[in-house]
């Protein structure tokens, strides 16, 4: 949808080549990030992240459900993304579905490690929220976390913004403490009593951030705007946690990339992630402080 003249295209590409992008950033500089938490009061946790003109909201809702029979000791997490037509007219009707699906799958892969569930949340050493902490009664009751992302305004790099918003929303999430009535056993459905006063907080220090490196010409940049994305040949999204572990990776876009460049990209992403994590954490802390104040 971005209608660019030949001159504009050259200007964008040239800027990237010279490490001075059209908005004055360097290739590996993020736009200012702004976080607001608790924006959706009826959700268990929510956050809004603005990255330049990109504006996304993530919410976490917890519902009591039944664990998967193959994994009776684990809760479930699902991520859905919706692109609102307010962000761009092409999302109107079913227009946003394809992108929404692509973003949902990429987020699942980057944050949960794919559909099999044997990913990030699963491995104890990544120190994130283990799915086992979501179990209430083994094999019978667990928490199902529904993470919903909504793109309100779009100016590129939706995936990184959504990833950051989900991380912020998770740290904002309080899950009611559940008391299970004693005595119920066997095949009976246990009676549960959901506490009104006590909430469990997640430790989100291990939740990764997503760094998308967009390849334009021979260089790659972080946090591309819509105009810059229109010039990309391919993009690689890498999720990295505090420890510097790669938690997920996805490549989009048509052109092939040389494997050595991918390895190079990973090491760059690892480097950038540190700054992003620090910045995000301090933004989240500031947002939480603002929320508690009001």
């Amino acid at each position: 949808m971005v209608g660019l003249s030949l001159g504009e295209k050259h200007f964008i590409q040239g800027g990237i080549a010279q490490d001075l992008r059209s908005d004055g950033r360097k290739r590996l500089t993020y736009r200012p990030i702004y976080v607001e938490t608790g924006v959706i009061p009826q959700a268990n946790g929510s956050a809004r992240v603005r990255l330049g003109a990109t504006d996304v909201i993530a919410s976490v809702k917890a519902e009591l459900g039944k664990p998967h029979p193959l994994q009776p000791d684990k809760g479930k997490v699902a991520i859905y993304v919706d692109c609102s037509p307010t962000a761009a007219p092409i999302f109107e009707g079913r227009g946003g579905e394809e992108l929404s699906m692509e973003l949902s799958v990429a987020l699942q892969r980057c944050l949960l490690g794919g559909k099999s569930g044997a990913g990030y949340f699963h491995t104890e050493k990544s120190a994130g929220i283990s799915l086992s902490s979501l179990v209430v009664v083994e094999g019978k009751i667990c928490w199902d976390l529904y993470i919903d992302g909504l793109v309100v305004s779009s100016d590129g790099n939706l995936l990184d913004a959504l990833g950051a918003a989900i991380k912020a929303a998770l740290s904002n999430t309080g899950i009611p403490r559940v008391n299970v009535a004693a005595g119920a056993s066997g095949d009976e459905e246990p009676e549960v009593d959901v506490s009104d006063e006590e909430f469990l907080q997640f430790d989100t220090s291990g939740v990764p951030v997503i760094i998308t490196l967009t390849k334009v010409g021979r260089h790659y940049i972080v946090d591309a705007t819509t105009e810059e994305e229109s010039q990309m040949s391919s993009a690689v999204s890498i999720s990295v946690n505090r420890q510097g572990h790669i938690c997920g990776l996805t490549k989009r876009g048509g052109a092939g990339v040389d494997p050595s460049i991918i390895l190079d990209m990973i090491s760059v992403a690892k480097h950038v992630s540190e700054q992003l994590l620090n910045q995000l954490d301090s933004e989240i802390a500031a947002a939480e402080a603002r929320e508690n104040e009001s």
Binding site: V39, I40, P41, Q42, A43, S46, G52, A53, D55, I57, S59, K61, E63, Y80, D82, S84, P85, T86, A87, A88, P89, E92, G93, R94, E97, Y146, D148, L150, V152, S153, S154, D155, T226
Partner: protein, 241 residues
């Protein structure tokens, strides 16, 4: 169920003729030609306007007036119960149509022939009165986009519970099953452009209830006018006029 206590207070502490807190904000979506957030209590919607621009589907182009389109959608997290509804369900389609008709009636479409105006409204939180909030947000967004309008159309709902007319029903009051009258109103022209009611209501009571909703619309209009005035002053200031 007691929706109005004998002391004359509603469940949330309002009196029957009081509106919830309203708040508007212009310019929430940077990329849109005009946008606004509008809140009525816990109901919060975003509206974005794209246009006037080239008509996307040539067969829909009209030579004497602009094409106005509207899409209403609800975020999955907007309701207390997380909903997974496919896009374009009946209710959304109906509300889209209602908003489009209401807005079309106040846009001076004849000034913009062969062009298209898109209004997108997104519900972030639903706590009763989403229709009204959407119309108010759309009005602000259209004004922000600089689209010529006959008047600022505003909307408010009212209902009738416990033999009392209530202004601006919230979700709990709305789900009580009583009548819910939504009015769209052109304050300067003093004309009703939208009127919807479900459930039955005797005529003499209906008159009061509708009048109450109109009063609500007028209050919203005053607020919106102030907001736009403030916004214009800001723009002037920024341009250094």
């Amino acid at each position: 169920m007691e929706y109005v206590s004998p002391e004359g207070l509603r469940l949330d502490g309002r009196r029957p003729m009081e509106m919830r807190q309203i708040r508007g904000e212009i310019g929430a979506v940077a990329k849109a030609d005009g946008s606004a957030v509008f809140e009525m209590g816990n109901t919060k919607v975003i509206a974005a306007v794209y246009g006037p621009r080239e008509v996307q589907n040539r067969s829909q182009q009209m030579n004497d007036q602009a094409l106005v389109r509207c899409e209403y959608s609800m975020a999955n997290f907007s309701t207390g119960d997380r909903m997974r509804k496919p896009k374009g369900d009946r209710r959304s389609t109906e509300i889209s149509l209602v908003i489009r008709q209401t807005m079309e009636a106040c846009i001076m479409t004849h000034l913009m022939p062969r062009s298209q105006i898109d209004i997108f409204v997104q519900v972030l939180q639903a706590d009763g009165g989403t229709r009204s909030a959407c119309i108010n947000a759309a009005t602000l967004a259209l004004a922000d986009a600089g689209i010529p309008m006959r008047d600022l159309v505003t909307s408010c709902s009212s209902g009738y519970l416990n033999s009392t007319a209530l202004l601006d029903l919230n979700y709990v009051e709305d789900s009580a099953g009583g009548p819910d009258v939504t009015v769209g109103f052109l304050p300067k022209l003093d004309k009703v452009t939208l009127l919807q009611m479900d459930a039955k209501l005797p005529l003499d009571i209906f008159e009061n209830v509708m009048q109450l909703a109109i009063e609500g619309c007028k209050a919203v209009a005053n607020y919106i006018r102030e907001l736009l005035l403030e916004n214009t002053k800001q723009l002037e200031y920024r341009r250094g006029v």
